[in-house]
Subunit: 617 residues, 2 copies
Amino acid sequence: MRKGIATVSISGSLDVKLEAIAAARFDSVELFDADVVSSPLGPEAIARRCADLGLDIDLFQPLRDLVGLTPDVFTDRLRFARAKFELMERLGATRALVCSAVHPASVDDPDLTAEQLGAVGAVAAEHGFTLAYEALAWGTHVNRFGQARRIVEKADLANVGVAVDTFHLLARGDGPEALAGLAGDRIAFVQIADAHGLSMDVLEWSRHHRCFPGQGVLDVEGVVGVCVEAGYRGPLSLEVFSDIVREADPRDTARDAMRSLLHLEEQLRRRWDGVDAPEASDRRRRPRVELFDPPPAPAAPTVDVVDLAVAPGDSRTLGFFTSLGFTADEGGADTSGAPDRTVLRNGEAVVVLDARSDLELRRSAAAQRPHVAAIGVSGDAESDLPARAQALHWPVVEATEGARRVRATRSPAGVEVHLDGQPLAASPLADDGWGGLDHIGFAIDTDRSDAEVSFHRTLLGLRPGPVSEFIDPAGRLRSRVLQPEAGSLRVVLNIAVRAPGVPTWTGVNQLAYACTDLLDRAEVLRGAGTPLLPVPDAYYDDLAARLDPDPALLSRLRRLGVLYDRDDAGGELFHLYTPLVAGRFYVELLERRGGYRGFGAANTPVRLASQAATPWL
Amino acid sequence: MRKGIATVSISGSLDVKLEAIAAARFDSVELFDADVVSSPLGPEAIARRCADLGLDIDLFQPLRDLVGLTPDVFTDRLRFARAKFELMERLGATRALVCSAVHPASVDDPDLTAEQLGAVGAVAAEHGFTLAYEALAWGTHVNRFGQARRIVEKADLANVGVAVDTFHLLARGDGPEALAGLAGDRIAFVQIADAHGLSMDVLEWSRHHRCFPGQGVLDVEGVVGVCVEAGYRGPLSLEVFSDIVREADPRDTARDAMRSLLHLEEQLRRRWDGVDAPEASDRRRRPRVELFDPPPAPAAPTVDVVDLAVAPGDSRTLGFFTSLGFTADEGGADTSGAPDRTVLRNGEAVVVLDARSDLELRRSAAAQRPHVAAIGVSGDAESDLPARAQALHWPVVEATEGARRVRATRSPAGVEVHLDGQPLAASPLADDGWGGLDHIGFAIDTDRSDAEVSFHRTLLGLRPGPVSEFIDPAGRLRSRVLQPEAGSLRVVLNIAVRAPGVPTWTGVNQLAYACTDLLDRAEVLRGAGTPLLPVPDAYYDDLAARLDPDPALLSRLRRLGVLYDRDDAGGELFHLYTPLVAGRFYVELLERRGGYRGFGAANTPVRLASQAATPWL
């Protein structure tokens, strides 16, 4: 389908916005009135600029406080509308958004509002313009989609329709059913935005309310699907304003925005085709419209390789993994024969220490080593991750795995992700009970966290869960888990919010390996003098107060410095951490019992405080 | 009165928090359970640390989900409470906060809740402990102060009282009247927090909800006043958690916190003494309690001196002011005879260019010149600003004004403020209609904006207004105006929220001078080729659409590049701007007509866009 975006969704001056939008291959823009007013270009030059960039102006917006007003105020606002219609003529725009009033003179009178909307619509018709009337979620009297719909139906003009804005509609608790029976040609425009955990609860007030579809929690797909089923064939246009977007690089925002629309189309297609839920398929309702169809996301993605960039001759990082029980392949080099590359194995856990100086993609990942420079992700036979990445505008480049050339991309956090690498076999030598990665943690900056969610979601098909928040001695930590429907690639985004000037490292910062019999492994590690994160004694007193574990277990946990959690169904988690290595990453070892599915969130504040107090390895 | 603060209000590890709190001269702390659990110190060592620092532990908090639960869950939580009472014994704490339940097993049964509170209270009494029961604003069933009060009255134990938390009480729409008739000894604890524009409106969701009293909008003074009038003599204790505080330097936070309590006491005293509103005085109700009594804030503060640090021989800055009509005093040096100091005057506007290299206080204000290094503030005969600053813990140091020694302090934004400087006389030579400063703008970082509000509020007695928000091409701008009851010192805080990595300058960035006949002045400046900020043509089309000014006026505004606004009462604003000088500051010239009181907010987006697009002078 045709794809658009509001200029208000992008930061920068209007010319910078338009360039970024064109570069992300959008078809059209919603032109924000204030952007026109602030631009030195002037309307005719803006129109030329859009044309040169191949962008249509699908909407001029917004016309505020135009209808639903006392008659005297309406007269002045109709004059205002005529002036803005002149501006639209100069811009070559033919469609305008009229939003419901928040003016002190607004009236609770649907009949009068419809009459005024009809009057404005008649003036618009003289210009050949269409109006899309929108119920702002915070409109004084008109704030529900159904109200706007009834007013539009009452005005009953061919050039006056309703605007479906997924944010305004869903934020007020309405859903796709609010559109039932609406003809497609009554939908004058579809504006798309998602939102993070909308709640009136003061506990969860959030600085960011809107985000691109799929980054938040709203059923954007449901609403857009019904519009398309009803016959709407206009653009799918993003109108997102959030603090994050206002501060972000406009080119990054435009690309993120485009990906979110492509992925939305893919999901609509899969639903209509019954790919994800065959029993729910309704092929008769599949609209005749072209929808994005990339190679599918892998059903069960896994991380097979963790590639650590180390300084040549770095014996400390090697020693760290050795102390955890990892052993190097014979000769210290991998079978591909690449020099400076040491493959370390511990049961199913595999880590590669890479001392090469020519890691091409890793420029921005800071020269300081060690750090996790790359991970290798595998899909299944049907998935073609490089082609999928390309289709979703994630740049694909060549990288190396030992002596092999592989195709790779880079997550917004700066981690190189190999898309067709060679899984490394588990250790053939010894199995001391370490399993593969249970989850992998990415340290993310707040302002790129939505983009990182998009990466794992659109490319790998992982589904984001809710955001948890923890107090960190140096600020706050927000955490968001992404998991696939099947498979083991759980990603935890660790979103650090720190004081200005406190440097943060972004990239893979947590390698969490599953194991069996964690308490036995902890005995071995403690016995060997492996450096593990200390746990304050008061933690165990609190554990006793909270969960009242068996005294023998409590005393063993306390002696070994193992953290513990229990869920309501009796599932249990045992886990331990290493200190931070060079401030960059740490290893967690964990055992899940009885179907425990969480990540030990109750223990996170203690872990953060201890990490802040413990010197780096 | 006794002053305390919750450890949860301060960032850092517990030992860092305690040190910062002690350094700010608090009497006591509310000890946050999670801080104890995360601390490697252990309870006995924490108790010793507090004692060594001279801090009492006035409260252990919180005991969550303790009462108002199904009986089976209550049994387990009573066990939990017993364990935490043991911890309190080890800490030497004797008072605990019990907050209303948010547990899935919470019940809507005040009688049962009172019974359970009584049962916990009986156990607490065995230890000699007092409980303070608090209605969390988001408690499942108990979320209003009156509910908690009735439950406490029903439990009716000497050691069980109600906690008055100004945030929870005021956030739910209750006010001081909710405390009517409550005996002081039923108030077991007073927790104090203010909040920024609490609103359930999604438009105004805010990242920061709590702040120190006086920084926000809640009637904290009213609630605390009633508690003290009722006979409460326990500590006034701050419990503030916000994103900002979590990210801030703990020492800064602790000092800000202390000042807010001192100022709260001063305001209570003035109210009881009828200083501010003699007719409202009620001396009979003035409690017998010691209250902070510093030299008063000036009734009508003014800014008399603006001191710009310039590089030696900086002819560009001199040329900039000359082009605006400023002229240098004879000889280029001021009457005090200090070298390298040029006094520039334009009617009532006075600016000093200071090329000395030994500006002692200005280390942190960046070496790069020009920038506004200092302002001089004057009060009235009764005010003693240096003594007031000292009493409020704003550090007072010596500075120079020409050859004179003056006492000065520094605002959190880094501006040196002279407290007893010598006002410089207005120009005796020529008066071309320039007046003095209408307002002065400070560029502030988000994380220090509450602190800057505190500075102007506590030291100078300015009153903060609401926060406005604007879109800036590079991010957002929040703006907050502070004004005195009388006098001309209006301060506008320009709080820039930018993308990470975009450098921001903090300090005075706007000098806004009043004038008469602004259009005539604009003619003169345009005629002289003075560099003024360009205004896009589209702005005047929009102005016509919005305000429909007289065509002759519109055409003159357009020709001169003057911005215009009109308020609902017909008051008018005419104003113009210079481009940014060295990225540091700009001059605004403005004329108010017909009682216009605003600052031209409608024109701010255009000004910001034009400043971003216009090269610096």
